[in-house]
């Protein structure tokens, strides 16, 4: 794909001005890192605050009397449990209990939901939702072009964002949101994120993206030693990996079931029927044959995505994500292994470009922030 055909977020020029190194990601031209570098960006988010452009994410609006029933029939979590101003993590599932996409569902009202989906799967999800319409009375609108989305994450995120809004942020509970104004413009302020830190995701009209981003940098004293840093895709990936969160296309795909991926907590088998429910119910009863685990490399070497995993000398699975963990200062990863070996403490090996490197299965998340 040539650079001219890549999609751009409304912050593209801003990223270039800030010295972002731009790469292709799921059809988008996105910054992989800024001059501070991935390690600094990662640490800033863990200890202070990091700013992320996530405007490439897709937004699909579901309106109508059948909105909740429709989403509940196609997704694994129970959307009927959401209250106005609440969001949850869920998955669009196939008939085989595997994953079309993972997403957030925001409830604005009983007849108004917003699905926030992955950038590279937005078109697929849109087609899937439309081709799986049923009896429910719903209107679907692809609103991906109507929003910029900026994530401000880290222990200082709240105090920084509070200087730009009168909405009392302390009152917004985790995985809840409010509509309010940020820097004087209409915004959805959501206490959610993909870093393992406290923080917010702010949705607004795309024409306000540059001003919002700049205000957040200024409020976070970007450029000073203890200031906020803009963060690229590389830090976003290492942060979510340390926090043990799945990435679509890696831990979860159309070939992995929710239960294999340890997403039983968003698989509400008793809520009524949904796509793939029967397969998942049977899998839950019989047990999965393979399971996603976290591991830590215990000798010199860095495991990477796609490398083979060995247990007791035999090839047993593959690494879904592997990377240095900048905050933990360890080399970690996630992998699928046969269920009988998926126990904490089990020694495994990763084939790092022809060299078998020792690793050990450890609890996930690798990193958990201290709750105030």
């Amino acid at each position: 794909m040539s650079a001219t055909t890549l999609k751009q977020t409304p912050l593209n020029a801003m990223h270039r001005r800030l010295g972002g190194r731009m790469v292709e990601f799921g059809g988008w031209d996105m910054p992989v890192q800024y001059p501070a570098g991935t390690v600094e960006e990662h640490q800033a988010t863990r200890t202070r605050a990091g700013l992320f452009d996530v405007s490439h994410m897709g937004e699909i609006e579901v309106r109508g009397p059948g909105a909740i029933a429709f989403v509940n029939r196609l997704c694994s979590n129970d959307a009927s449990k959401l209250v106005d101003g609440q969001a949850h993590y869920t998955a669009l599932t196939t008939e085989r209990g595997t994953v079309v996409d993972d997403l957030l569902v925001y409830r604005f009202g009983p007849e108004h939901l917003l699905l926030v989906v992955n950038a590279s799967t937005t078109e697929k999800d849109w087609d899937w939702l439309n081709s799986h319409r049923g009896e429910e009375d719903v209107q679907l609108t692809n609103r991906s072009a109507d929003f910029c989305q900026i994530a401000l994450q880290g222990p200082s995120a709240l105090s920084i964002l509070q200087t730009l809004t009168e909405t009392p942020l302390e009152e917004i509970k985790y995985y809840h949101f409010r509509e309010g104004k940020v820097d004087g413009v209409d915004a959805i302020i959501s206490r959610t994120g993909y870093t393992g830190e406290d923080g917010f995701e702010v949705y607004a009209a795309p024409e306000h993206a540059e001003a919002l981003w700049q205000k957040m940098l200024d409020a976070g004293r970007y450029g000073e030693p203890d200031g906020v840093l803009p963060c690229g895709l590389a830090a976003r990936n290492t942060l979510r990996l340390e926090a043990g969160m799945a990435l679509y296309g890696h831990e979860i795909t159309e070939e992995t079931t929710l239960l294999e991926a340890n997403l039983g907590w968003i698989t509400k088998l008793n809520k009524g029927d949904f796509t793939g429910r029967d397969v998942l119910a049977r899998q839950k009863e019989e047990g999965v044959t393979r399971k996603l685990v976290g591991f830590e490399v215990t000798e010199r070497g860095i495991a990477r995505d796609g490398q083979d995993v060995y247990v007791e000398g035999s090839r047993a699975g593959h690494v879904t994500s592997g990377s240095p963990a900048p905050f933990l200062k360890k080399n970690i990863g996630m992998a699928y292994v046969p269920a009988e070996h998926a126990t904490v403490g089990r020694e495994i090996q990763v084939d790092v470009r022809g060299r078998k490197v020792a690793a050990q299965i450890v609890p996930v998340p690798f990193y958990k922030r201290e709750k105030k």
């Binding site: 992989v32 890192q33 570098g37 991935t38 390690v39 600094e40 990662h42 590389a234 990936n237 290492t238 010199r300 070497g301 860095i302 990477r304 990377s323 240095p324 900048p326 080399n331 470009r353």
Partner: protein, 129 residues
């Protein structure tokens, strides 16, 4: 703009070579370390190993990516920069100095003629942008 010191030889794989008598010192260029980002891991061979020109002699890894290292000329490894095990970031901070990787005894001194001069390498990386 990447730093490309005079007096060194360069490869299109972005390694540099400093020749002193029969000994060559090898590292990666400022351009290479900058493209790679924060270096977190360097895998190097042991003293005594021999390599042909353009052989892979190790790898260097950033948080995001792995890059193989290619020896610009044939030689036998006489010394390895062991300090990069604990301080791989030296490759970023001082790629032509403390971030050096190997010293080799050159097998064929004439091979250096096939490498790029500083000016040629500068043109080469300019053409990549």
């Amino acid at each position: 703009m990447a730093n490309v010191p005079e007096g060194l030889y360069y490869s299109k794989d972005h390694e540099w070579l400093r020749v002193e008598g029969e000994t060559g010192t090898v590292g990666i260029t400022d351009h290479a370390q900058h493209s790679l980002g924060d270096v977190v891991y360097v895998e190097l061979p042991k003293s005594g190993e021999t390599f042909a020109a353009h052989d892979t002699f190790g790898s260097v890894e950033s948080v995001k990516a792995v890059s193989e290292l290619f020896l610009p000329v044939a030689g036998e490894v006489t010394e390895v920069n062991e300090s990069l095990t604990d301080e791989p970031e030296k490759v970023n901070t001082d790629p032509y100095g403390d971030g050096w990787m190997l010293r080799v005894k050159l097998s064929n001194r004439g091979e250096v003629d096939s490498l790029l001069s500083a000016a040629e390498y500068e043109d080469y990386i300019g053409s990549l942008e």
